[in-house]
């Protein structure tokens, strides 16, 4: 094995390692072609970030990814992993340090799930009990039951389960870097969404450096910390964070590729809890009408929101409901709630669907924390003079 910061034969470590990845003037010209497949590609991925390579078919995004683990050899330039050229290692050794997950998954049909996941640890010569512990840990990590799944064959699993196993296998030897080529491409939309969310949750703990290839700009925006948009001939059109890409596309190609709805796409980048919400004019059943007027006066919202003893929203009151002396039970109109973990796009969609201006923003416990209005979303969409702050 090669020395330095390579994969740790001891197994999963409490301080997961990740490498920086640098493309330095990388060029690939296939034999018998005068057009480059990758043209002078340069960009840098900080350790622990997901870099999405995206672009139309034939833009060379998969080729660019496969240059990293030398499944395809570059013609000129260099690719550096933690500052070391990938060319300095034997391809097989290099690949054992790099997780590899592809759309077709490529599980070995003749190996059990356990043996599939253990592929790279076995190549690295881990001890049997270490491998066993690692395999069971990974099966749990992807939300399956080791006792039930370990000794099964790939053909006995569903497509979504196989996809998860593919990711677990790529993670098995705690690689410095993961290469993922459309890993969720063959999954139906509902399960794809679930797998994406699962993977993002996993990544928030693992903090691997990941090169993620997709043709789907929505997936790119959702998954990427940074996005490299490639155009035909492997030319880098723009390399930026998702918000930057949506706010300031570098050229017509990027603007076109990102889509006419790029303003709306920005709404998918921000969660409700991250915007400045309006204060909710909270009142309770039995409060005086005067108190209700006072609550409205201290808020941007002109209707009082009735909450119950646990702070959960009950009803909106309008002027007709404020004619008596006290707030009566059972008055008012129903409340549209919005989860504070929702992205703005989904929240807006809920408000529009129920044809209301205001949504009561609630914590997972159901407690009201503020009010989201169409106006707030509008302000978010109109670029501010100070410039956009990148989303957290």
């Amino acid at each position: 094995m090669t020395p330095s910061t390579s994969a740790q034969p001891e197994g999963p470590s409490s301080h997961p390692q990740a490498a920086t990845l640098e493309f330095d003037n990388v060029r690939k010209v296939y034999d018998g072609s005068d057009q480059p497949a990758i043209a002078d590609l340069s960009f840098e991925v900080p350790a622990g970030e997901i870099c999405v390579l995206v672009g139309p078919s034939g833009c060379g995004k998969t080729t660019a990814m496969r240059l990293v683990n030398r499944m395809i050899e570059m013609t000129s330039g260099d690719i550096l992993l933690d500052g070391e050229s990938v060319r300095d290692k034997r391809p097989a050794d290099l690949r054992r340090q790099i997780g590899y997950a592809i759309q077709q998954i490529g599980l070995f049909p003749h190996d059990t799930i356990g043996d599939n996941i253990a592929t790279v640890p076995k190549l690295l010569g881990w001890k049997k009990d270490q491998i066993r512990a690692r395999v069971d840990g990974l099966i749990e990590l992807i939300g399956l039951d080791p006792g039930e799944v370990r000794d099964r064959y790939p053909a006995q699993l569903s497509g979504g389960q196989r996809q998860r196993v593919g990711v677990a296998r790529a993670l098995a030897a705690d690689p410095l870097l993961m290469l993922m080529d459309e890993p969720f491409g063959a999954i139906d939309p509902i399960n794809r969404e679930r797998l994406q969310n699962e993977f993002l949750r996993l990544q928030s703990e693992l903090r691997k450096t990941i090169v993620f290839v997709t043709h789907d700009i929505d997936e790119a925006i959702k998954m990427g910390d940074r996005i490299a948009i490639l155009k035909k001939g492997g030319v880098l059109a723009q390399y930026a964070k998702p918000a930057e890409l949506l706010m300031h596309p570098a050229d017509d190609f990027v603007e076109d590729f990102v889509g006419a709805d790029r303003a709306l796409k920005r709404l998918a980048l921000r969660r409700v809890r991250d915007v400045d919400l309006w204060t909710a004019p909270r009142v309770r059943v039995g409060d005086t009408v005067a108190a209700a007027h006072e609550a409205i006066a201290g808020s941007d919202v002109s209707y009082p929101l009735v909450v119950d003893d646990d702070g959960r929203p009950v009803a909106w009151l309008d002027e007709d409901d404020l004619r008596g002396e006290r707030i009566e039970p059972g008055t008012g109109s129903p409340v549209q709630t919005v989860e504070c973990d929702d992205v703005l796009r989904d929240a807006l969609s809920e408000l529009l669907t129920s044809q209301v201006q205001y949504g009561a923003v609630v914590e997972p416990s159901g407690q009201v924390v503020g009010v989201l209005s169409i106006e707030i979303i509008h302000e978010f969409l109109v670029p501010e003079a100070e410039g956009e702050v990148a989303p957290a």
């Binding site: 683990n69 690949r95 592809i102 070995f108 049909p109 003749h110 592929t119 790279v120």
Partner: protein, 242 residues
């Protein structure tokens, strides 16, 4: 159990098998099919049966080694597939009887001649099946294997060959069964086998049925054995979505 070929020859030509020993039996007298005669004289087929079995096992075994080596070469150098298929195809079309007579002046009478001819006969089936089996390995399994850092040799032994096993075993089963039938002609090359007692008294139905029946038993047994081996080696082929 080495046998002197001249002794084998002497046995058949000396009327060893014409001596039906129990000449009083009416059934035997009329060349009929007599189960009791077969039961009582089964021991005369022991040696031919053993000779036959050795011919089949050795020929298929050698044929497999040669075909396997050729298939591995052709697996990495695709241009070899066509010429190897053609040459083994020509060997396959030569009637085995003709092959025995062509080889006689070179290798003489005896087991070697028979084994060379029978081995040549298995090559086409085995080569084709091994190549087809390797071709049938899913491209994504190969790609994932390389991508995870398996060397070409590890890929071959850990991924490609195990996945090609069902096709390879299918080839072995066809080769074994066919060779059992062909080895019945091996006595022409002086290599004995079950063809010898059959030829020695071919007018006697009991004799022909006994020798022929033993060929069938051997073919079925070998086929079953190979099938069992395949099932033990490829549990994954039967593990479909439960």
């Amino acid at each position: 159990m080495t046998l002197d070929p001249t002794l084998v020859l002497a046995q058949s030509e000396g009327g060893f098998f014409r001596n039906r020993s129990s000449g009083v039996d009416k059934c035997v007298e009329s060349n009929g099919f007599c189960p009791s005669w077969i039961v009582h004289h089964l021991d005369r087929y022991t040696t031919p049966f053993e000779q036959h079995l050795v011919l089949v096992v050795v020929s298929v075994g050698l044929g497999f080694l040669v075909a396997f080596a050729l298939a591995l070469l052709a697996h990495r150098r695709r241009w070899l597939v066509a010429p190897v298929t053609q040459i083994t195809g020509i060997l396959y079309t030569i009637p085995s009887l003709a092959a025995f007579f062509i080889l006689l002046p070179i290798t003489g009478r005896g087991r070697t001649t028979a084994i060379i001819a029978l081995t040549a006969y298995t090559l086409l089936i085995l080569f084709r099946n091994i190549v087809d089996g390797l071709d049938g390995v899913p491209a994504e399994a190969r790609d994932a294997g390389r991508g995870m850092g398996l060397t070409e040799r590890q890929l071959l032994w850990r991924v490609e060959l195990p996945l090609a096993l069902p096709a390879i075993m299918a080839g072995l089963r066809i080769a074994a069964t066919t060779t059992v039938g062909l080895a019945a002609l091996a006595f022409y090359a002086g290599a004995g086998g079950l063809g010898e007692p059959m030829e020695a008294d071919k007018a006697f139905d009991s004799n022909v049925v006994a020798a022929g029946g033993l060929c069938v038993v051997m073919a079925v047994a070998l086929d079953g054995l190979l099938l069992l081996t395949q099932r033990l080696l490829t549990p994954w082929t039967r593990a479909r979505a439960a």
